[in-house]
Amino acid sequence: MANLIVIAEQRDGELRETSLESIAALKAIKQADDQLAVAIVAADPQAHAGALSVDGVDEVIAIKATDDFQPDLIEAVIVELAKERKPSVIAVAHGVDAWSFAPAAAVKLDCGLATDVLGLKIEDGELVATRAGYAEKVLVDVDFPGKETVLLTIRTNVFEPAEGSGSPKVTEMDPPEADVATTHEGWKPPADAGGIDIGGAEFILSIGRGVGDESNVEQYLELAESMGATLGCSRPIADNGWLPKARQVGQSGQLAANCKLYIAMGVSGSVQHQWGMKHVDTIVAVNTDPEASIFSIARYGIVGDMFEIAEELENHF
């Protein structure tokens, strides 16, 4: 029997949906006699127990502390849980919060670590995690020789959130002592979108760093308009101030929630960009690099120059 632990997360008192994806990831490798426990740190952890009581979960560990994000506290929780329960695997979503605490917890435990894991398997009895490398152009299988515990951060939007109702026991755990070095001071909401609606758009033409220069952006605004598309962009375009942030598609920008047709020009297809558009039914990728990872999620691909294609496309609208 092995213990598997998921660290569920909340933000400002609201459960992170991605917690259910991490549960699904461990459910997939769970053996019949393994125990899957889900730990949640919150001001009112019991309030989340219901939502975490999904099929496959044997125990919810409720740790009553604060809703503020304190990496030092979560690390102390992980260390304590690992010492008490000797889990073979601890998993948490590869969200921004985990970026702060997962590597620090792993070195404190001297355990195995793989981040942004998009696949898990057991090979000859050994846990093997799959992640991507070289800007998503290759996959890497890693293992953890000699490690009794392995901490994994799970790429989001890969595993279908766990569902179905289970009836786990709920255990209370006192928060461990932690030397907390951070203080939550408040939130800064995203800037006003100024009428740009990436979330509502059905047809998006999106430009990435391939556009090269600010002076080239205007023609894509015009092309988008003539085709009846909303212009979107990748992060560097917004960071450069070439287009407003409200047009940025991806993890730290907008989710193209209602999009049916997404044309990506000069976008490489980073995991953070894909976060906002991978689900779209029809993705068309235009890129000069035939190995660009955007092609791996596209329905149609054009290996070519975005300027030549755009110029020709104008003649049709």
Partner: protein
Amino acid sequence: MKILVTVKQVAALDDEFEMRDDGRDVDEDFFEEDLNEFDHYSVEEALLIKEAAGDDAEVVIVTVGDEDTDDALRTALAKGADRGIRVWDDSLADADGVAIARVLAKVVEREQPDMVFTGAQSSDFGSAVTGMALAGLMGWPHAAVVCALEYSPGDNTATLRRELEGGLEEIMTIRCPAVLSIQLGINEPRYASLRGIKQAKQKPVDELTLDDLGLSADSIAPASRVRRMYAPEKGQAELITGSAAEQASRLAEIIKELRGM
């Protein structure tokens, strides 16, 4: 007062590439190497703090890598950093972010900086591990994906914003010294001037071995090992071929059909 910035030389792959014979990495003949994009921002942030302080603040750049990675170090020095440290040993060839952090921790102990900046992630492996593992080893305060920072040399606390999902940001204060991983867009990184590039060649770079840092090959154990590396299965993409005019007219057809135009 001193800010230590860790930088990584990353590899982008050529349009076509082949795996190494042992199947555990890409053949380095197909690498195009450069300073990690994120590190341009962390170096800039350190330089801005130094310039605002105006006194004897020092910006030190450290990289763990072989001779080739001198380029990344010199790129950072050319922007205005004061000196560099490069640590290498052949036993680091299979290092992951945790192993690199173990080396960096010794450098931090030696240098005693007031702040450490790293990139939020590398643009090749993107594991987002090295900086926060370093903080864990040191027992220092830490925050990842920092997109705004108010800090003056000597301050006991810094105020920062962490960039979260969906454009939301959290404002937090943090005790210093701290390890912060710096996000894209926090500032506008400068380009090195010609003069800077010339000067960088003269700037001191300490070349250290594990021995110099009191580390043995066993004390830099990684947290994972690469079993194999491979190209992902090709997606389902239907390639539209022909001249640009032909490709565009096929694309126009697809658009019109799907949009009912």
